[in-house]
Symmetry: C2
Subunit: 690 residues, 2 copies
């Protein structure tokens, strides 16, 4: 579908201009300078030629096929121009001009109108208010864009709404002499969307790695589905900015959206198998490694260096990233002891010394490539004047081209003096980084991707014992309430197989006593009324009541304190002991629900030690949540305590996920606390808001 | 003292060579290429000239003054050559050659011999096994070094043992077209030390910022004292590598040292007022900002941009670094509303739009410089082809040169196409970073330095109520024991005014009962014997004993379980309740003691939520420790609990610091737990190891 957008046979520029500093001139210049292989058609009612190319009064006058038309004209003329494009049979329009939905309702109306016309003609719109696309495929060389970074042909594709950041990333590759494949920045994205482009890039054989930047997702589920499919085919690297409230505000101010805390995007990245980044520099460096290197089989790294300190720095970063530095195998050690200088350090890192030769690098690299102890290689290479640096570079490039194991290089040099050495490495496809930390982190990202690939696939469980119909009846009964009554909440939990203490609902004090007698002491009594939201704060909870008198007193006191005609008493078995945990779910519009798990009490209050996931939570994800809190050791039992039943918690998370997935009207659901025991876990307090 | 090293009138090269690839040739080439202003004297018994310069058979033949002599000769010839230098009146010798203490005992002996000779002649040695020094002062231009980075004159000085990393840092500045002042990498550092060089740089008016890299400290206290003095004069930026065990191993392997966990260096950095870094890229970027910018008065940042996304990225980083983005003042807002495009975003960040002109940047920068809401400015600047980028650069540089508030620039451009624009900014002293995150972090480092400057100075308290002489008597009594007896421990604590529960030492079961009666029930009984180290594990602790029978049974049981002739019973008042905290001290050879504070129980076991400091701990540092644990909210009281007496804990930390400072023979001291109450804190168990 987007094939003609990225591989256009002919490009028209509506609003082509003779003025150097006009976008309608620049796009033509860029197409020419980049060596575009198709026809270029400037459209201008007054000019005969622009930049030496015949111009046409109207797109209807163009003789050849026009797959893509740029529009660089005031917003109000766009609908008419779309009409003309329709008549001409144009397939895609890139609207560089602004003045549409980003400016307010008036512009939004123009956007609506031209989009309607485009749909009628089957035209797809890219933008408006956007940069455009670039395709560096030598057979195409389409620079349908007014920016200024001219990429070599490469394997990394970039897609982002934000032109500013997409360009920063693009410049990052360019500054490192790394080529790119496709570049797409679609601004308002009124029609062709980021998910669609990701889908296209996933299928594009020339793209080895997809890089994207977001400040929030317009269509979270669409993005998720496209990314999940794409990550099955190739790595997708992404960064989300606007993580902080202030950052979110800054993002809202330039996109015209609303500032809000956004937890869902990170979770979507994770669930979709995206390799995510918090620093655009790390993203750029990682993409360079992904663009040329195979995926490591594991996390074991071998390091070669000709200078000590940088390898120390890299080691710290690698270890932080979860990599290990195994010792050399006996065979490797023996070979290197024979071939390297006697003063060389024959361990991991191997230090061939500053005087180490190309032969030393070669024997060391080949030994490490053949050594089963290592999954990937980090090469440090400083260029002293007293060795043949070009020969060393040739050795490194030669080993790299065998693509046996991924390799990155920390090349420490003066690019002005050692341009030839650098060129040999880069032409040999070796990812080169000036700083040891950057090289190490790029390698770390490759290993992170391996870990993502190796994640257990996970399964959304189906439950034979879940009574969805029963729960539905309760929701129907609750229609109109924003907060379910306690009996409704517990009926629903029971319908979903979530363990709760035995309970009864009582209309009055005598009823409460009768309920307590039936359940057996000790009991808990809770006030229940539509107006009672924070029952603890209102004196609406009494625990550990040992006899009828205690129940009577507690219920009486509640009646005095809480002035509600519909006041009832929820009586439940008192379940002491156990480890307090909390579970929750919160609707995330357009996504489903966020599901939360953590330890209760001070751990959530002081340490905020909770983890989240998105519905539907798979079995693997639920297990990861339970193991993922910082204080998970407390679940395993410390100081002689018994471990709690993690399997029950994993089960509970999945049941909760199933419940909120089946009933999307649930706005918030809290199980707080759940008492986790050596065997089983019981939700002793719960709340459902619609 | 080091003045002639860094400003030599004449430089001789002993071991000067005619061979291009020899260090003895390269040093001469570097001196020539860099434009050294003094005399160059190649020393070679066989050559008449080297690189066109008259060579001498012996240094004694040199007619002029030689302040610095390089030695590029085999190790075994060095002592004799030092002798000659002494006769000639050479002041400093830079020994580039290796083969000394780094290779083993034989080399170490040569090092000892030449050092002795040098001392006899009053010669200072730089190295051996080192790169050397560079001084880019236009009046000097001394490149006494065999590396290949030729710096412009600048304000940043670099000092490090590790030549590899010093060179990476140097290259980092060079790649950004940022000059340096003095460069010094002294390898084995057998004589002239890093602390001495730091002291010199602190006094050097041309040095605005000192940058260093360490993998561990040879002379921790010397470093600390030098750094503490230096940070009073100018910022000192430092990075320590070998943070991880694997990194420490890599460091040990290339320095010949022992791999060990090193907590002290970080604490020394902190105590000395060093701005520390964990990433050499961040260090390089920060140094660039420190080299040209004033120190901000506070943490409030104003952002100007002509593209949205990069400002969002920067905002996240700035907020993470503790900066705030206040709104524009009414006056600024009004002025910008009048002067900028109507579509511009007049908030913080200000978005002047991609079409924003030099006038827009200028009015905005000047308004923010004048606006009391801001302490520092971040400028984002992408270079679109349709604006006069050189004029914008001129405006930014102009405002920067007024040095009103610190400013950094995120310049997003293609350096090949916009070289002129970049040059204007750089010549104007504007620190330019290609990535928004890098710019934001550099600004964050300036603010971090402000926070260091604003730290309360802190005072090491003197205690009127401390009985050092009394404690000394106990230590004398304990002579020969590696672990003090319980009564000795508590006597010492009491002598230092540390609250402990009332206690008695008893020799037998009857004595224990008598002791309990005297103290009053409930009591705790603990087994005490030289062989009993982990008394809890051996059944040697019984708590909450309510009467004589309970004491008798407990003591009997201990007697059965613990087979020790010297078994005695330590009886103390049982102090229930309170919040468990732990304090500790551990000797750190060459430094003093590490003092530790944290919450006890699961918080230390599971969360490792402890903080450290170095003796002597000041009042401000003790307060910072108590407030600095992640769970400090628990000390303030959560869930209706009473807060604990933080002042008592602050006092306790200082008394502990005083105790271990007065008695450096204390190897380890634990107060675990200390019970902290609403009023006061009591050490209920304690251990002192010598």
């Amino acid at each position: 579908m987007l094939d003609t957008l990225f591989n256009p046979k002919g490009v028209a520029v509506i609003g082509a201009s003779g003025k150097e500093l006009h976008i309608g001139n620049r796009v033509i210049k860029n197409l020419l300078d980049f060596g575009y292989q198709g026809g270029i058609y400037p459209i201008n009612p007054k000019a005969d030629e622009i930049r030496g190319i015949k111009a046409y009064k109207s797109i209807l006058d163009v003789p050849g096929q026009v797959d893509v038309a740029h529009m660089v004209i005031p917003a109000k003329f766009v609908p008419m121009a779309v009409e003309d494009c329709g008549k001409k049979g144009v397939k895609h329009i890139i609207i560089n001009s602004g003045g549409f939905s980003e400016t307010g309702p008036e512009g939004a109306e123009i956007e609506r109108v031209f989009l309607e016309k485009a749909k009628a003609y089957g035209i797809r719109i890219f933008g408006p208010n956007c940069q455009g696309i670039i395709n560096s495929d030598p057979a195409v060389r389409a620079y349908c864009n007014f920016t200024f970074t001219f990429p070599d042909a490469g394997h990394i594709s970039i897609v982002a709404l934000s032109g500013g950041v997409a360009e920063v990333i693009h410049q990052g590759f360019s500054a490192m002499d790394v080529g790119t494949r496709i570049y797409a920045s679609n601004g308002n994205a009124c029609d062709i969307s980021i998910p669609e482009i990701i889908q296209y890039l996933a299928d594009d054989d020339g793209t080895r790695v997809i890089v994207t930047y977001v400040e929030g997702l317009k269509d979270p589920m669409g993005f998720f589905e496209a990314a999940r499919q794409a990550t099955k085919q190739k790595p997708v690297l992404a960064m989300k900015a606007g993580r902080t409230m202030e950052g979110a505000k800054a993002a809202a101010s330039h996109t015209g959206g609303l500032a809000r805390e956004d937890l869902a995007t990170d979770l979507i990245f994770k669930k979709a198998g995206i390799v995510d980044f918090r620093d655009e520099g790390h993203l750029i460096n990682a993409a360079v490694a992904f663009g040329s290197q195979p995926v490591p089989r594991g996390n074991r790294v071998g390091i070669i260096t000709n200078t000590g300190g940088p390898a120390v720095i890299a080691t710290d970063i690698l270890v932080d990233a979860g990599l290990t530095l195994p010792p050399l195998s006996g065979k490797t050690k023996a070979m290197l002891t024979e071939k390297l200088y006697p003063e060389a350090s024959i361990s991991n890192p191997v230090d061939v010394l500053a005087t180490g030769t190309a032969e030393h690098y070669l024997v060391c690299l080949e030994a490490m490539m053949a050594d089963d102890s290592f999954d990937c290689i980090l090469v440090h290479f400083v260029t002293p004047f007293f060795v043949d640096t070009e020969k060393i570079a040739t050795a490194i490039a030669q080993v790299n081209q065998q693509q046996i194991k991924p390799m990155v290089c920390n090349l420490m040099t003066d690019r002005r003096q050692w341009a030839g050495t650098e060129a040999i490495l880069k032409e040999g496809g070796v990812p080169c980084f000036a700083l040891p930390s950057d090289a190490a982190r790029a390698l770390g990202a490759l290993v992170r991707y391996r870990n993502i690939l190796d994640r257990p696939p996970g399964r959304v469980r189906t439950f034979g014992d879940v009574d969805t119909a029963g729960a539905r009846t309760v929701f129907v009964k609750a229609n109109g309430r924003s907060m379910l009554a306690a009996d409704q909440v517990y009926e629903i939990l029971e319908a979903y197989g979530i363990d709760v203490p035995e309970w009864r609902m009582a209309d009055d004090i005598d009823g409460a006593i009768a309920a307590a007698e039936a359940i057996g002491y000790p009991v808990v009594v809770k006030a229940d009324a539509a107006s009672v939201v924070h029952k603890s704060d209102m004196g609406g909870v009494a625990v550990n009541l040992a006899d009828a008198d205690a129940v009577k007193n507690a219920a009486r006191k509640m009646k005095e304190q809480i002035d509600a005609a519909d006041l009832r008493f929820f009586v439940q078995q008192f379940v002491p002991g156990g480890r307090e945990v909390i579970l929750g779910a919160k609707a995330e519009p357009g996504v489903g629900h966020l599901v939360m798990f953590g330890l209760g009490g001070i751990f959530v209050e002081v340490l905020k030690d909770v983890v989240f996931n998105l519905t539907p939570v798979t079995d693997a994800e639920a297990r990861e949540m339970v193991d993922g809190i910082r204080t998970s050791a407390l679940l395993d039992g410390v100081r002689g305590e018994k471990p709690v039943d993690k399997t029950a918690l994993v089960d509970l998370i999945q049941r909760l996920s199933k419940l909120v997935t089946d009933f999307p009207q649930i706005r918030e659901l809290d199980l707080n606390p759940v008492m986790a025991f050596e065997k089983g876990a019981v939700a002793v307090d719960a709340r459902i808001a619609l």
